[in-house]
């Protein structure tokens, strides 16, 4: 029990709108619901995850946010300073979920500060996340829609696992995804060689549409060629996220999809995803259900 180190799961894809934030928010909700103590780090300057979780606009987190976490020297390996940047959700919308909110100036400030002052620019977040890994049960990181950003670099630098969401209604390009995977392999093999790919998560997916079905197949085909699917499983993540207009509604009302529409199939999808990851990574549950 004392040696537990929470998995750090980064959700990334340089494509915007493919479902990164939706996945982070609903995965956090599901982990929390089944009794995991969850920490969400919002690394996207647009702060959609923060708004969804905290119910207020990112502009309101003027202090104690991701910028102060990343750019202040004091937070480095210092649990109590780190804790100052973490917010609890107390209004009952999300159980057992804590988060570090984003900030609009994150991109500019963080990139500048880090690239000027850090001798390990891709490992700044790591020194703030590592001390939290025995406090939380699972840590989730939302990324900006950019592959080369120093923020994405930090998210991958401290993660133990990553997931790439793919919106099969619009991501026709395998090569975009191939570029992403190659970039990640290339960049993280030095700074974080132990990083493991959990799989791609198909979002807004339907097996009834030929194009979408073909995209799913070709992604799987490439995973096999890349060698990230050693057991030749049909899909690394053995289900997908359906499409539903309720996703947008839930985000407007700052609720997990399950609280917005209990019977929605997407609520079930994310429940499956959380359980799958929990079993695969042996995530503990120290929080109340």
């Amino acid at each position: 029990m004392t040696n537990y180190q929470a998995p750090v799961i980064t959700v990334t894809n340089n494509k915007g709108g493919c479902g990164k934030t939706t996945t982070i928010v609903n995965l956090a909700a599901e982990f929390g619901r089944i009794g995991c103590k969850v920490l969400v780090i919002d690394l996207d300057p647009q702060g959609n995850a923060s708004t969804h979780l905290g119910k207020i606009n990112t502009n309101n987190y003027t202090e104690n946010n991701i910028v102060s976490l990343l750019c202040s020297k004091e937070t480095k390996n210092n649990v109590s300073k780190i804790n100052e940047c973490i917010y609890a959700i107390t209004d009952g919308r999300f159980d057992n979920v804590f988060f570090v909110p984003a900030s609009r100036d994150l991109d500019i400030v963080a990139s500048k500060t880090i690239s000027i002052h850090s001798n390990r620019p891709m490992e700044e977040l790591k020194s703030r996340i590592e001390p939290m890994r025995d406090i939380y049960d699972v840590i989730l990181i939302d990324c900006p829609p950019s592959m080369t950003s120093i923020l994405t670099g930090n998210a991958l630098g401290c993660a133990t696992h990553f997931i790439t969401p793919i919106d099969t209604t619009s991501d026709y390009s395998r090569s975009g995804w191939i570029d992403l995977m190659n970039y990640i392999i290339d960049k993280t093999s030095d700074i974080n060689p132990g990083l493991v790919y959990l799989g791609s998560l198909l979002t807004r997916h339907s097996e009834l549409t030929n194009i979408q079905k073909a995209i799913a197949f070709s992604i799987n085909d490439f995973e096999n060629k890349l060698g990230v699917n050693p057991n030749n499983e049909e899909k690394l993540i053995p289900f997908y996220i359906h499409s539903s207009t309720k996703v947008g509604e839930a985000s407007v009302s700052s609720l997990p999809i399950k609280k917005h529409d209990r019977k929605n199939k997407i609520a079930k999808d994310y429940e499956n995803l959380a359980n799958f990851i929990k079993n695969k990574l042996l995530i503990r549950t120290t929080a109340e259900k």
Partner: protein
């Protein structure tokens, strides 16, 4: 429980890739970023992955997609609604050679716009590789009844390698395994037969494809001989003189006859019965018949019976041994 390999970490993957590069054994289609190609095309055309208006004349049909028939009335209705409302959902294309495009989705919308004699159409440009394109087209084709079994089989074979096994292939396209086997059989036909079917793809259907394949492979393979007779049989089928169910039998018979004919011209037997220096009958034996002709004025009923019995007994005895 089976021993499962762990998913390799990024560090291990990188090491593997480096090892592959060093031994030069990097397989085609493995970790090849297509970014150079992509950025090159994007530069030339100055496009993003976004919506833009493109010249209708620059759009070619999907090369993997056979022509479809369209309901004229439905097309007219669509073009009317386009001319009134103006806006339509953009079609989807990919970039092909030198600034031309290939249609991925939206054939009806494109046709409706052509009907309205528009020059431009709103399109989203996606980067789709050939594998994706062919799987998409094939899945669509398999749902339609108007594509021949031969064409279906050949396209199935072209992407078969991307599937782990035939079961997976069958599942993907929602066909039975037996059906897939029958369709794939077309691809094992010798080239001359495929050439023939390219012109007339409907001549042979999947009901006999496997039988024909097995026959062609198992018979002592004499390409030339089969080619001549199969093509002859296909001609008869085209003319309606032969049904495909009898195709293989027909070819077998033609080949047997040919063999017998050879025997007969080489070993034709023709002898005559003589009595007192005069011909009283003939004995002939060729590929088709053995016949004995005797002048009946010399034969009485008893003798005729005896000759019949003699031959009859002899045949019975001999045929039993065969």
């Amino acid at each position: 429980m089976a021993n499962k390999a762990d998913t390799p970490s990024m560090g291990e993957l990188k090491l593997r890739m480096l090892a592959q590069e060093n031994t030069g054994s990097q397989k085609e289609g493995s970790v090849q970023p297509q970014s150079n190609v992509k950025s090159a095309t994007n530069k030339v055309l100055n496009i993003q992955n976004g919506r833009m208006d493109i010249d209708i004349n620059l759009i070619d049909p999907n090369p993997y997609q056979p022509r479809k028939e369209f309901d004229d009335d439905a097309l007219k209705a669509l073009s009317e609604s386009i001319s009134i409302c103006g806006v339509i959902q953009p079609i989807i294309v990919r970039v092909s050679r030198r600034g031309r495009y290939e249609l991925i989705a939206g054939e009806r919308r494109l046709r409706a716009c052509k009907l309205l004699e528009k020059n431009k159409i709103s399109a989203v440009i996606h980067e789709v590789d050939d594998l994706l394109m062919s799987i998409m087209a094939l899945a669509e084709n398999l749902d339609r009844t108007d594509l021949s079994d031969f064409e279906t089989g050949i396209s199935l074979a072209s992407i078969q390698d991307h599937f782990k096994n035939k079961t997976e292939l069958a599942e993907y396209f929602k066909r039975t395994k037996k059906d897939i086997d029958r369709l794939l059989a077309f691809n094992s036909f010798p080239k001359w037969l495929k050439d023939e079917l390219n012109d007339k793809p409907r001549l042979i259907s999947k009901t006999i494809s496997q039988q024909l394949k097995t026959y062609l492979e198992s018979s002592d393979y004499d390409d030339e001989k089969h080619r001549v007779y199969v093509i002859k049989a296909l001609k008869s089928m085209e003319e309606g003189a032969l049904t495909q169910a009898l195709l293989v039998d027909n070819v077998k018979r033609q080949i047997r006859d040919e063999a017998n004919k050879k025997v007969s011209t080489e070993n034709n037997v023709k002898r005559s019965y003589k009595y007192d220096g005069k011909n009283i009958g003939s004995f002939t034996y060729d590929a088709r018949n053995l016949s004995i002709k005797l002048n009946s004025s010399l034969i009485n009923n008893n003798l005729a019976d005896e000759i019949f019995e003699l031959i009859n007994n002899k045949l019975k005895k001999e045929l039993k041994n065969i």
